[in-house]
């Protein structure tokens, strides 16, 4: 018995010491420009295994699509060309607008459906086989577009200071992919007879003529969590995970974003997401769900959100390649279409919120700076 005493004492000492050892000693502020910091501050093995990690997180992303459709696999049925190109122009309403009506997420289609007490739109996008994940944040958006396509990685969602809680209970969606074919063919198209019937019985299957059944977002959360664990640099995993969590548990969503920021301190989208969650919190404190600064907590949160948006805009302006045309930017692996949409949205949010709750002159100055970086920013140039 006495032999265990020194073991117990040393174990207690080890546990106590473990409390003093941070798990992020390998991360630190580095010298050089941002790209160098990102490149240099990464272990060689992580870089070598990078492809494997991103591959794993991509596979997990695919898994979320199946889960969203209750396990039913659909044949890819939409392509990017079919998606509307109105996102840039379509940033919604003024901050005073009492109720959300329209708006488009990064890739959502014209199939928003009304739900919840505020009758908000919720767009869903179903994309092709591409591996992009996009989401747009607009200061006036009142809808969330979240895209899941069979075999696609095309996810989008929009956040804005005015966006509201969406219930993500099981619901039918009345949109144009209702007729999409399932991977397991329907009886009319299946030559296999009883084998096909048996497969349809034992595997998740839904008649393609019926509307898609979308399950609760909660079920997707573990997958997003595994995605971010397998590839901590997968910014969209954090953003979309937080998007699904926020309706159920705002604090958990904020924690996920904070974790993402710990691993990706220069990802402007994460700063933007954090700000949007703070704005959601501000709205939660108002009786009518509007953005107001009546309470000191609201004011504090709004200031933090504004600061976050300013920072996100600065990071975006630093990161956005300056020597490319709009088309090149959209096709560039360094930037891409969805990042461009994020860039438009974050700058829009920052300027609008600054004008509304911060310093109007600073808002004007910020707008001018953004327009120097993104001269074709439709919304900001309209307000000029």
């Amino acid at each position: 018995m006495r032999a265990w005493i020194p073991i117990a004492i040393s174990s207690a000492a080890a546990a106590a010491l473990s409390l003093f050892i941070p798990s992020d000693l390998n991360r630190d502020e580095l010298q050089g420009n941002r790209r160098q910091r990102v490149e240099v501050n990464r272990s060689a093995l992580a870089r070598i295994l990078g492809e494997f990690r991103t591959g794993t997180s991509d596979l997990l992303f695919l898994k979320t699509e199946r889960y969203l459709h209750g396990g039913v696999g659909y044949v890819p049925h939409q392509d990017e060309a079919s998606q509307p190109e109105q996102v840039e122009e379509n940033s919604g309403h003024s901050l005073d607008a009492p109720g959300p009506k329209h708006g488009h997420g990064a890739h959502d289609h014209d199939h928003g459906h009304a739900q919840g007490p505020h009758d908000h739109d919720h767009g869903h996008a179903h994309g092709p086989h591409d591996h992009d994940h996009g989401h747009a944040h607009g200061p006036h958006d009142h809808n969330h577009g979240h895209g899941h396509g069979p075999h696609d990685h095309d996810h989008g969602h929009a956040h804005g200071p005015h966006d509201h809680d969406h219930g993500h209970g099981e619901h039918d969606h009345d949109h144009n992919h209702a007729a999409a074919e399932t991977l397991i063919p329907s009886e009319q198209q299946d030559y296999r007879g009883w084998i096909g019937r048996m497969q349809r019985e034992v595997k998740p299957w839904r008649d393609p003529s019926e509307h898609h059944l979308h399950s609760e977002g909660n079920e997707l959360i573990p997958w997003f969590r595994m995605m971010t664990l397998s590839d901590p640099a997968y910014v969209r995993g954090y953003i979309l995970g937080a998007f699904w969590v926020q309706s159920e548990n705002l604090e958990a969503a904020q924690q996920l974003i904070e974790e993402g920021l710990e691993h990706n301190p220069y990802a402007f989208q994460l700063h933007q997401s954090r700000a949007m969650l703070q704005l959601k919190e501000v709205r939660g404190l108002s009786e009518d769900g509007s953005l107001s600064i009546a309470l000191p907590e609201q004011k504090l949160l709004l200031e933090q959100a504004l600061e976050g948006l300013r920072h996100a805009t600065e990071l975006m302006m630093e990161e956005r390649p300056k020597d490319m045309s709009k088309e090149e930017l959209r096709n560039s692996p360094r930037w891409g279409r969805y990042k461009e949409l994020d860039a438009l949205a974050v700058s829009n949010s920052a300027v609008t919120l600054e004008a509304q709750f911060g310093d109007p002159e600073a808002a004007e100055a910020l707008k001018e700076r953004v327009l120097q970086v993104i001269p074709d920013h439709i919304r900001l140039s309209k307000e000029r």
Partner: protein, 249 residues
């Protein structure tokens, strides 16, 4: 030299001879020479940039320490079970060798083989690999000082698991915890207080901090890092003694 010292020396020699007889060390040397060749090539004809230099050095440091850890762990894992399985433990204990001395000798041979291999590999890496301009020498020294402790800890931990668990399970859990313990620690929620009992070998692996030009650790960060493997060595030592004394041979 005292009798005990003599015994330890003989055990150490026997352990190192056994290691040389097996071909594992040649495989490690082959892997390391591959890296050294690439690093040499990169240094002489490759692209020289901060990112490239950091990458090569980081890879070299990580490889050197990982190979040392693997060697120490595998040596520690197989020594006692081999002795018991081959029944060579009986003549060893029949001589005036007590169980504690035998255990210490086995630990020393596992730890020293790992440490010497790591130090040689690290030295070669530092000579051959390009040095990033931003590297902080203080941080490098701190890193180098931590590695022998980490390897000794791995050897002791492997010895303990080798004594307690079946061979395959011991190997899996030992290597899993050495290379994945820190990851496990990170993913477990803070509320799970027992997570602090997970051996965090990864907390001593600061190669990225070295190559990214971060400043040296402050005493408040450095001292717990030094004490941590030392305390774990004590845990493994006491546990090994306790288990081995009771083990039916």
């Amino acid at each position: 030299m005292s009798q005990k010292g003599q015994q330890l020396k003989l055990l150490l020699r026997a352990g190192l001879l056994e290691l040389a007889r097996r071909q594992g060390i040649q495989v490690l040397c082959l892997l390391m020479s591959l890296y050294l060749l690439i690093a040499l090539g990169a240094r002489s004809v490759g692209e020289r940039s901060l990112e490239a230099d950091s990458f090569m050095l980081n890879l070299g440091l990580t490889l050197s320490v990982s190979l040392g850890l693997i060697l120490a762990a595998l040596t520690g894992l197989r020594q006692m079970p081999d002795d018991i399985e081959n029944r060579s433990i009986y003549p060893l204990l029949a001589r005036p060798l007590d169980r504690d001395t035998l255990l210490s000798g086995r630990f020393l041979s596992a730890a020293l083989s790992g440490i010497s291999v790591t130090l040689i590999f690290l030295l070669l890496t530092l000579i051959v690999s390009p040095t990033p301009s931003i590297m902080n020498r203080g941080m490098l020294i701190q890193y180098l000082l931590l590695q022998p402790l980490a390897i000794a800890w791995a050897a002791a931990f492997a010895l303990l698991l080798g004594l307690c668990l079946p061979r395959a399970l011991a190997t899996l859990s030992c290597l899993g915890l050495i290379f994945g313990g820190e990851f496990l620690f990170r993913i477990l929620p803070d509320l799970f207080i027992f997570k602090h009992l997970i051996p965090r070998f990864g907390s001593l692996q600061l190669a990225t901090r070295v190559t990214s030009g971060a400043t040296a650790l402050s005493p408040a960060e450095w001292i717990p890092l030094l004490l941590y493997p030392a305390v774990w060595l004590c845990i493994c030592h006491f546990s090994c003694r306790s288990v081995f004394r009771r083990k039916a041979l």
